[in-house]
C-alpha cells in the first residue's frame, strides 16, 4: 500500500507547496488568503496521515474556519487590492530576500538530511492522536500551560478590541 500513500503524499505535497507559493506571489490578497486556507486544509490532510486526527480537525476549524475567515473579512473590509512588491525596502532586499530564503531552505533541508530520523515511522499505539489521548495529556501534563494560554487569548482579545475600536 506504500505506493498509494506515496501518491497521496506527493499529490498533497504538491498542492501544499503550490498553494504556499500562491500565498506569497499572488497579486490579490484575497486569492492569497484563499490559497493559504487551502494550504492549511492540505496540511490538515498531512496531520491525518500522521495519526493526528484531533489536531487535523482543529486545524480546519480554527485555522481555516476562523482565522482565515477573519483575515478575509479584514481584506474585504479594507478593500485591499495589492500587497506585492518591495516599495522602499530597496535593492539589498531584492537580492538578499531570495538568497536568504533559499539559504534557509538549504540549512533546514541540510539539518533534516543530517538528522537521524528513520526511514519509516514507528508503529504507534491505537489511540494515538485521538481526542481522549490529547485531552488527557493537555489537562494533566500541560494543565498550567493550558491555563496560561487561555489567559493569553483573553489578553489578545482585549488588545484587539482596544486597537480596532474607533472610540471606546
Amino acid at each position: 500500500m506504500a505506493t498509494l500513500e506515496t501518491v497521496a503524499f506527493v499529490l498533497l505535497a504538491t498542492l501544499a507547496v503550490v498553494s504556499a507559493l500562491m500565498v506569497v506571489f499572488h497579486r490579490s490578497p484575497v486569492i492569497s488568503a484563499l490559497s493559504l486556507a487551502f494550504n492549511l486544509v492540505s496540511i490538515a490532510g498531512f496531520y491525518l496521515f500522521l495519526n493526528a486526527q484531533f489536531i487535523a480537525l482543529l486545524q480546519v476549524i480554527v485555522y481555516a474556519g476562523a482565522i482565515m475567515v477573519l483575515v478575509l473579512f479584514v481584506i474585504m473590509l479594507l478593500s485591499i487590492t495589492t500587497e506585492q512588491g518591495l516599495h522602499r525596502s530597496g535593492r539589498v532586499q531584492r537580492v538578499a530576500a531570495p538568497l536568504l530564503s533559499a539559504a534557509c531552505a538549504g540549512v533546514l533541508v541540510f539539518a533534516v538530511a543530517r538528522g537521524s530520523e528513520g526511514e519509516a515511522f514507528v508503529v504507534s499505539s491505537a489511540d494515538f492522536g485521538t481526542v481522549r489521548q490529547v485531552g488527557l495529556e493537555l489537562f494533566s501534563t500541560y494543565f498550567y500551560a493550558f491555563e496560561a494560554i487561555s489567559l493569553l487569548l483573553v489578553v489578545a482579545m482585549i488588545g484587539a478590541v482596544l486597537l480596532a475600536k474607533k472610540r471606546l
Binding site: A20, Y63, R88, A111
Partner: protein, 99 residues
C-alpha cells in the same frame, strides 16, 4: 512516506513563508506568511510526535494554534488601526522609527 520527506516538506513551506515575509509589503500578506511559517513548524511537530510516538508534539501544535489565533486577532486589529491612519497597509510606509 518517511519522516524525512515530511520534514523536508515542512522546511520548504517554512522557507516559502520566510520569503513571503521578506518579499511582500502588505501587512496582511506578511501576517499570512507568518501563519504559513507557523504551520510549517506545526507540521514538523506533528511529524516528530508521530515519529517518537509522543503526544507532546500535538500539544505544542495545539498551543501554537492558539498563539496563531491570538496573533491574528491582534495583528489584524493593528492593521485596521493602521489603515485608519494611513489608508494603506504598506509596511514600508511605516518607517518613522529610524535614524
Amino acid at each position: 512516506m518517511a519522516p524525512q520527506s515530511m520534514l523536508i516538506l515542512s522546511a520548504l513551506l517554512f522557507a516559502i513563508g520566510v520569503f513571503g515575509v521578506l518579499w511582500n509589503r502588505g501587512a496582511i500578506t506578511i501576517l499570512m506568511c507568518v501563519e504559513l511559517m507557523l504551520n510549517a513548524a506545526n507540521l514538523a511537530f506533528i511529524t516528530f510526535a508521530r515519529q517518537f510516538d509522543q503526544a507532546d508534539g500535538q500539544i505544542y501544535v495545539f498551543f501554537i494554534m492558539t498563539l496563531a489565533a491570538a496573533e491574528a486577532a491582534v495583528g489584524l486589529a493593528i492593521v485596521i488601526a493602521l489603515f485608519r491612519l494611513r489608508e494603506s497597509t504598506d509596511v514600508d510606509e511605516l518607517n518613522l522609527l529610524k535614524w
